[in-house]
């Protein structure tokens, strides 16, 4: 699926008035209560807020992995509301890279095989996919370990593999939910460094959910959530102020 280039709308991700409820009856929780969210191309965007405020839910809706109840979702000028589920799947396959808190590497596959998955899903031939995967592994500092299994690596190394996997098909949107929370502080910083250098690129939007104020300084822009809504957006000097307050 090719994307329309929309110079009039430089936004990569635009959520407008999104409502999402889980469960029904007494058990019904409103996770998103009319959230408005925008992320721009070329920026590393952090999404922060207290536990349970709806960050993961918002990220899932923005990534097209979770259906929502009300509101509009536009990705690079394509309105997801108008797409069928299978078109949304195809959209994700082509344009979105994922990094998970628990890495979610396939333990029975070696590193190259794990990293080649997004390319294979997009129909790349196996040989080409593995070559490209090996190049990405080198880029995240894991050259020479192509045929190792994930279980032979440390947590930080596994997350590097996950980053390689998320970038290998050159997605326009990179989504990461707390990519450092399963890692120690030092390793977490290395992973954020890697994301800030390897993932950030002019046509790409990187959205990272984080709990850790020490990672705020990596942000080009930061969205604060509270109770299912966006409570504030910070960038430039305001972001610096926000960071200094939270340190």
């Amino acid at each position: 699926m090719s994307l329309p280039s929309s110079p009039s709308d430089p936004a990569a991700v635009r959520l407008t008035g999104v409502v999402k409820a889980f469960g029904s009856g007494d058990a019904r929780t409103l996770a998103l209560k009319g959230a408005d969210f925008t992320a721009a191309q070329g920026e590393l965007h952090l999404l922060v807020g207290p536990s349970g405020c709806g960050k993961t839910t918002l990220l899932s809706v923005a990534a097209g992995t979770l259906e929502w109840d009300e509101g509009q979702v536009d990705l690079f000028g394509t309105r997801l509301n108008d797409l069928s589920p299978s078109s949304i799947t195809a959209f994700r396959r082509r344009h979105i890279g994922f990094i998970f808190q628990q890495f979610n590497l396939i333990t029975t596959l070696d590193l190259v095989e794990n990293v080649s998955v997004p390319l294979l899903l997009n129909g790349t031939r196996r040989r080409d996919a593995e070559d490209k995967a090996a190049a990405l592994l080198a880029r995240v500092g894991l050259a020479g370990r192509e045929r190792k299994r994930p279980s032979q690596l440390s947590g930080g190394q596994q997350q590097r593999v996950a980053i390689a996997r998320a970038l290998v098909h050159e997605p326009r949107l990179l989504i990461a939910d707390e990519p450092t929370s399963a890692l120690d502080r030092e390793t977490g910083h290395q992973i954020m460094d890697l994301l800030a250098t390897a993932a950030r690129s002019p046509g790409r939007s990187v959205i990272i959910v984080t709990h850790d104020p020490r990672t705020y300084s990596y942000a080009d822009r930061l969205t604060e959530m509270e109770d299912g809504r966006v409570a504030g957006v910070h960038h430039g000097p305001a972001l610096k102020d926000f960071i200094s307050i939270h340190h």
């Binding site: 992995t65 998970f100 029975t108 998955v117 997009n122």
Partner: protein
């Protein structure tokens, strides 16, 4: 992606071995029991292959070849006079007591053949001369009879199978062996003893009616089936072609014995064992991989692709299990082939049926997983 599906399957050694093992066991159980059953069924009609006649005329109530109800002597001529019958010969058959060389008594299947033509003669003579059956008190016996009746003459001495020239007793009358032949094992397991029709009447206890069956051939240009119909219409006797009598015999076994039931039960059990082991193991394989499958789904793997991967995994273990199971069955067949016990007949169509059953088992197992995966929300991978 499909090569990765296989790598994921092989990567989980324990489940892989469990799956292949369960499906092998299931395939083995189904194929082996089916082969023994088919072998047993083939025994029920072996008598026809030993006699080789195109048309079998029997008493009207007889439904299967291993059953005899005596006919009147005059029936032979009645059949001969039916138009379309080229020739018809009398046959005596009866189970009689014979005395082995150690004095013990064994039951034998005595066959009396028309002396002039020896029609119904054994298919393969191993020693001696069949023509000598026309002399008094002579018999041709099969290998089984030679072995059973040729016991060790004195305690401790090695058994010595009977040979041409040896003498033993049938029903207290002397019988001289003039030949050894090869037969297919009779359903009841009795060894064959061939003699002339008139001689058979001497061996057998005297009864009012002694004719067991009539073997007939159609005139050239006529089929056995049409001549059999004419014989039936004109004499009121039952007349079967070989395929008809085989079918009727096997039907009789199905209707009147518990044999098919017990085999079919075991075969169904093999299928259920396959479903239980393969289904359960495969489902837990899918459950353990659920996070991976969810991640694949988030990354844009369609339900169709994931279903294809699961089917490939299931069919792979299925085909391996099928191959090993059928291979073991064939090995079993070779091992028992010499002994001739238990019955064993591995036919291509029963192998195909096993393959089909295994594929059904694998499809069912994969479907359980596919259902789980289809309902899986891609978003679960964001939950820890």
């Amino acid at each position: 992606m499909f090569h990765l599906a296989l790598r994921m399957l092989l990567g989980d050694r324990a489940k892989y071995i469990m799956l292949v093992g369960g499906l092998t066991f299931s395939a083995l159980l189904m194929t082996q029991q089916n082969a023994v059953f088919q072998g047993l069924l083939s025994w029920t009609t072996s008598h026809m292959r030993n006699m080789r006649a195109s048309i079998w005329v029997v008493e009207s109530r007889v439904e299967q070849v291993n059953e005899t109800k005596a006919l009147r002597d005059t029936d032979v001529n009645r059949v001969r006079s039916v138009s379309g019958v080229d020739f018809a010969m009398p046959l005596f058959q009866g189970v009689l007591k014979a005395r082995a060389t150690d004095g013990s008594e064994k039951l034998v299947q005595l066959i009396g053949l028309h002396a002039g033509t020896l029609f119904g003669r054994p298919t393969k003579m191993l020693q001696g001369d069949l023509e000598q059956l026309r002399m008094a008190n002579t018999v041709v016996i099969d290998e089984l009879a030679a072995e059973r009746l040729g016991q060790s003459p004195a305690p401790g001495a090695p058994p010595r199978p009977l040979q041409p020239g040896d003498v033993f007793e049938i029903n207290d009358r002397e019988a001289r062996v003039v030949g050894i032949c090869r037969t297919e094992r009779h359903f009841f397991g009795y060894p064959y003893v061939f003699t002339s029709y008139d001689q058979a009447l001497q061996f057998a206890p005297r009864q009012r009616k002694m004719l067991s069956m009539i073997l007939a051939e159609p005139k050239p240009g006529l089929t056995a089936a049409e001549v059999a119909r004419t014989i039936q219409a004109e004499t009121g006797l039952a007349a079967y072609t070989v395929p008809e009598f085989e079918r009727s015999t096997i039907n009789w076994i199905w209707k009147n014995t518990g044999i098919p039931f017990s085999f079919v039960t075991t075969i169904i059990l093999g299928f259920i064992v396959g479903v239980a082991i393969a289904g359960q193991t495969f489902y837990s394989f899918v459950l353990e991989n659920l996070r991976n499958l969810g991640a694949l789904k988030a990354m844009g793997a369609s339900n169709a692709l994931l279903s294809g991967m699961l089917l490939l995994q299931a069919y792979t273990v299925g085909l391996i299990g099928f191959g090993v199971g059928v291979g073991l069955t064939a090995a079993f067949g070779f091992a028992v082939a010499d002994k001739g016990q238990p019955p064993f007949l591995l036919q291509p169509d029963s192998v195909v049926r096993t393959l089909f059953a295994i594929l059904i088992i694998c499809t069912l197992s994969a479907l359980l997983g596919i259902r789980k995966v289809a309902r899986l929300e891609a978003a679960i991978v964001f939950r820890s």
